[in-house]
C-alpha cells in the first residue's frame, strides 16, 4: 500500500478516492463493523450504504459559509447607504435576480433563491479546485494520523465536492424532483402525462394518436431523463477534468528542478484558466436549473 502511494498511478488513484465511511464488507479487516474504507476496492465493495465524508464535509462547510455571510448581510440589510458586505451581497443577488428574470417568467418564490444557492454554492465548491491539490489532503493525512490514529496513506481526501458525481447528481436530482413536482402542480397529472405522450408527433384521428403514444413517450422520456444527467455530468466532467490536470501537473513537481519550475508555471496558467471554467460551470448549472423550472411552469 505504501509502495502504491509513491508511484504515479498510485498518487493519482489516491487523489481520486473519496474518504468513504460505511459498513466494512466481507473479506476485509474488521468486516461487519462500521469504519473508513482503507482502499478504493474496499470503498467500492461497501456499496450504496456508505458515505463520502470529505464530499459532505466540504459541501456543507462551504454551504454554511455562504449562508452565514449572506445571512449576516441580509439581517442587517438597510435601504440606506449599504456597507461593503451588503453591497457585495446585493450585487450578487441582483445579478442572480436579473438572470432569473431573463429566463424564468413564471411566479414562484423558490426559483430565485434556488438559483442563488446553486450559483454561490457551486462556485465555492468549484473554487476549492484552485487550492493546490496536495495541501488539504496532507493536512487531512496528518489530522487522520494524529487524531484518529489512521495510516496517513489510507486517509483519502478529495476537497472539491463537485468532482464527486454524488454531489452533482444529488443537486440535479433534487432539481429534477422539483421540476416534476411543479410540472404536475401547474399542469395537473393529465397535462404532465399529455406532455410526455402527445408530442412531438401529433395527429388528428384517435387511432393514430394512440399509435403515436409509445413513440412520443419514448422520445419525451429520454429527453426528460437526460436533463438531470446532462446537468450533473457537465459540471462533474468539467471539474473532474480540471482536477485531473492539476494532479498531473503536481506529478511534475517530483521530477527535478527544471520540470518543477515548469510545473509551477503550468499550474499557475491552468489555475487562471480554470477560474473561467469554475465561474462558467456554476453559472451554466444555475441557468439550466432555472430553464428547467421555466419549462416545468409552461407548456410548450
Amino acid at each position: 500500500m505504501a509502495e502504491a502511494a509513491l508511484t504515479a498511478s498510485g498518487y493519482i488513484k489516491h487523489h481520486l478516492q473519496n474518504l468513504t465511511y460505511g459498513k466494512i464488507p466481507e473479506g476485509y479487516d474488521h468486516a461487519g463493523s462500521w469504519g473508513f474504507a482503507h482502499s478504493p476496492a474496499e470503498a467500492k465493495d461497501m456499496g450504496f450504504m456508505a458515505i463520502h465524508v470529505d464530499t459532505m464535509f466540504w459541501s456543507i462547510t462551504l454551504g454554511v459559509i455562504f449562508l452565514f455571510i449572506f445571512r449576516k448581510a441580509a439581517k442587517y440589510a438597510t435601504e440606506g447607504v449599504p456597507g461593503g458586505l451588503q453591497n457585495f451581497v446585493e450585487w450578487v443577488v441582483e445579478f442572480i435576480d436579473a438572470s432569473v428574470r431573463g429566463s424564468f417568467t413564471g411566479k414562484n418564490p423558490i426559483v430565485a433563491p434556488m438559483a442563488l444557492t446553486l450559483f454561490v454554492w457551486i462556485l465555492l465548491m468549484n473554487l476549492m479546485d484552485l487550492v493546490p491539490v496536495d495541501w488539504l489532503p496532507q493536512v487531512a493525512g496528518v489530522v487522520g494520523a494524529s487524531v484518529f490514529g489512521m495510516d496517513p496513506h489510507h486517509v483519502y481526501f478529495r476537497v472539491v465536492p463537485t468532482t464527486d458525481p454524488n454531489a452533482t447528481f444529488g443537486m440535479s436530482l433534487a432539481i429534477f424532483a422539483m421540476t416534476i413536482f411543479y410540472s404536475i402542480k401547474i399542469k395537473g397529472i393529465g397535462g404532465f402525462m399529455a406532455e410526455l405522450t402527445m408530442q412531438p408527433f401529433e395527429a388528428k384521428s384517435l387511432p393514430i394518436k394512440i399509435l403515436f403514444i409509445p413513440i412520443n413517450f419514448f422520445l419525451e422520456f429520454v429527453g426528460l431523463i437526460s436533463k438531470p444527467i446532462s446537468l450533473s455530468l457537465r459540471l462533474f466532467g468539467n471539474l473532474y477534468a480540471g482536477e485531473m490536470i492539476f494532479i498531473l501537473i503536481a506529478l511534475l513537481f517530483s521530477s527535478g528542478i527544471g520540470l518543477g519550475i515548469f510545473a509551477g508555471v503550468l499550474q499557475w496558467a491552468w489555475a487562471v484558466f480554470h477560474i473561467l471554467i469554475v465561474m462558467l460551470q456554476a453559472f451554466i448549472f444555475m441557468t439550466l436549473a432555472v430553464v428547467y423550472m421555466e419549462m416545468a411552469h409552461h407548456s410548450h
Partner: protein
C-alpha cells in the same frame, strides 16, 4: 466514484440550503433593494417637483416685479403731477399774497398822503391865519370871524 448515500445526503443538504436561502436571505435583501429603489424614485420625483416649483416661483417673482415696476412708474407719474400742481398752487398763492401786500401798501401810502395833506392844510391854515392876523390885527376879531375862517380852511 461510487454512487452511494452521499447522493441522498447531498440532495437533502441542497434542499435545506435552498430553504434557508428562500426563508432568511432572499426576502430581506430583495426588500432592502426594493425599498432603496423606491426611496431613490421618490427622491427623484421630489427633486423634479422642487424644480417645477422653483420654475413656478421664478415666474411668479417675475410677474411681481413687473407689477411693482408698473406701480412704481404710476406712483412717480402721480407724484410729478402732484408736484407740478403744488408748484402751480404756490405760484397762485404767492401772486395773491403779493397783490394783497401791494394793495395794502398802496392804501397805506394813500392814507399817509391824506394825513400829510391834512397836516399841511392845517399848517397852511395856521400860517394864513397868522398872516391874516398880523395884517388885520385889529379889524378882525378872532371870535367874530371864526366861522368864516373855518369855512375858508375847509375850502383849502
Amino acid at each position: 466514484m461510487n454512487i452511494n448515500l452521499t447522493l441522498i445526503g447531498q440532495s437533502i443538504t441542497f434542499a435545506l440550503f435552498v430553504w434557508f436561502c428562500m426563508r432568511f436571505i432572499w426576502p430581506p435583501v430583495m426588500g432592502a433593494l426594493e425599498a432603496r429603489r423606491k426611496q431613490i424614485a421618490d427622491g427623484l420625483a421630489a427633486a423634479e417637483r422642487g424644480q417645477h416649483e422653483q420654475e413656478l416661483a421664478e415666474k411668479r417673482a417675475a410677474e411681481h416685479i413687473k407689477e411693482a415696476k408698473g406701480q412704481a412708474s404710476e406712483i412717480v407719474t402721480q407724484a410729478q403731477k402732484r408736484a407740478s400742481e403744488i408748484v402751480e398752487e404756490a405760484k397762485g398763492d404767492a401772486k395773491t399774497e403779493a397783490d394783497r401786500i401791494v394793495t395794502g401798501a398802496n392804501a397805506e401810502i394813500e392814507q399817509e398822503i391824506n394825513r400829510a395833506r391834512e397836516h399841511l392844510r392845517k399848517e397852511v391854515v395856521g400860517l394864513a391865519i397868522a398872516g391874516a392876523e398880523k395884517v388885520l390885527k385889529r379889524e378882525v376879531d378872532k371870535g367874530n370871524h371864526a366861522a368864516t375862517l373855518d369855512d375858508l380852511a375847509a375850502q383849502l
